[in-house]
């Protein structure tokens, strides 16, 4: 099953459950509290996901390692390499 199909399946499942509760499609005579709570859940989920995404990406950008030492080490090794290669006869 492709990821797209998995998502569609998951969304359908949640959508049907939501529809059943909110619109009382099975005629279960649920207390109105249930319906009132269920009704805005999809929007809540989207908002929560949106906030989670922003927070996660923001955190990851802020903590993205800057490899200063790696860059310095590379510069030093480049010098060393050029010297060594010249000695070995490389014409650059």
């Amino acid at each position: 099953m492709t990821k797209l199909l998995e998502w569609l399946l998951g969304v359908s499942f949640v959508g049907i459950a939501w529809g059943l509760v909110t619109f009382d499609l099975l005629d279960l005579q649920l207390p109105s509290v249930c319906k009132e709570v269920a009704w805005p859940i999809p929007v809540y989920l989207l908002v929560v996901f949106g906030c989670y995404s922003l927070a996660t990406v923001g955190y990851r950008v802020a903590t993205f390692n800057d490899c200063e030492d790696a860059a310095k080490e590379l510069q030093a090794q480049i010098k060393e390499a050029k010297e060594d290669l010249k000695q070995k006869g490389l014409k650059m």
Binding site: L4, A81, K82, G89
Partner: protein, 251 residues
């Protein structure tokens, strides 16, 4: 020849040999340096290796420099398998694998953004878990990047987040191209992958998961010396998103 022999005999248990594929295009300046570093770190660690340079008809004389390096380090260490013109990365891997005598293949960039010092760590990680492939990650552990501004970091993390949500790939860095593969695994994967560019590397990992291969990770540092000249533009972002959505819908 250089003193590569000293520790080779003590480390080649089971006869593992590592073939490094270096596709090059206009890398006259960097090629000697990357090869020097590869020889140094393989020499120090004692693992058996060869470097396969796949030059796509570089007009700047990369192949001539490669020939000089071959004289210095030996034809059993540096193999030249050039091509007439610039063809894709996937075909470069296929071409390289055909001439590889190792049982493991390492793919990396030749522009010094990937540092050979991580290769012994890839090898050890692979041995530790028996992984079919080991991927270098910039996003976990002490992995990271040098030379990126805020915009570039934001795009990178944002794109990676989107990829994680949509594909749930079980690997933290999908667009990275510094990896160690078992040779037969790389062969099978390259056959099946159809995308180009960044998405090709992503597809390799996604297909690896599909085929049940195990993926290990090693944090790496990526030193971008090219970013200032070639900014990540709108076109690349659009084609990335298209590629991601295609993978989402087809895998």
């Amino acid at each position: 020849k250089v003193g590569l022999e000293r520790r080779r005999s003590s480390r080649t248990r089971r006869g593992d040999k590592y073939s490094v594929l270096l596709p090059t295009y206009n890398e006259r300046e960097n090629l000697p340096l990357i090869i020097w570093l590869l020889v140094k770190y393989f020499g120090d660690s004692g693992y058996d290796f060869e470097i396969i340079v796949i030059d796509d008809g570089s007009p700047d004389g990369t192949l001539q420099v490669a020939e000089q390096l071959q004289k210095i380090y030996g034809e059993d260490r540096i193999l030249l398998r050039p091509r007439a013109k610039k063809l894709g990365l996937g075909t470069a891997y296929i071409h390289g694998i055909q001439h590889a005598t190792g049982n493991f293949v390492i793919i990396m960039d030749a522009d010094l953004s990937h540092h050979p010092k991580f290769i012994p760590r890839f090898i050890e990680k692979q041995k530790e878990g028996g992984y079919d492939l080991v991927s270098g990650t910039r996003y976990r552990g002490d992995g990271g990047v040098y030379g990126w501004d805020l915009r570039r970091k934001l795009i990178s993390r944002g794109a990676n987040f989107l990829t994680q949500v949509l594909l749930r790939p079980g690997a933290s860095d999908l667009t990275g191209s510094f990896r160690l593969y078992k040779k037969e695994v790389l062969e099978r994967l390259v056959e099946r992958c159809v995308s180009k560019g960044y998405v090709f590397q992503m597809e390799m990992i996604v297909r690896a998961r599909q085929l049940g291969y195990s993926v290990g990770e090693v944090p790496i540092s990526f030193v971008d010396r090219v970013y200032g000249e070639s900014k990540l533009g709108g076109n690349e972002i659009v084609s990335f998103v298209k590629g991601l959505l295609t993978l989402f819908a087809t895998t």
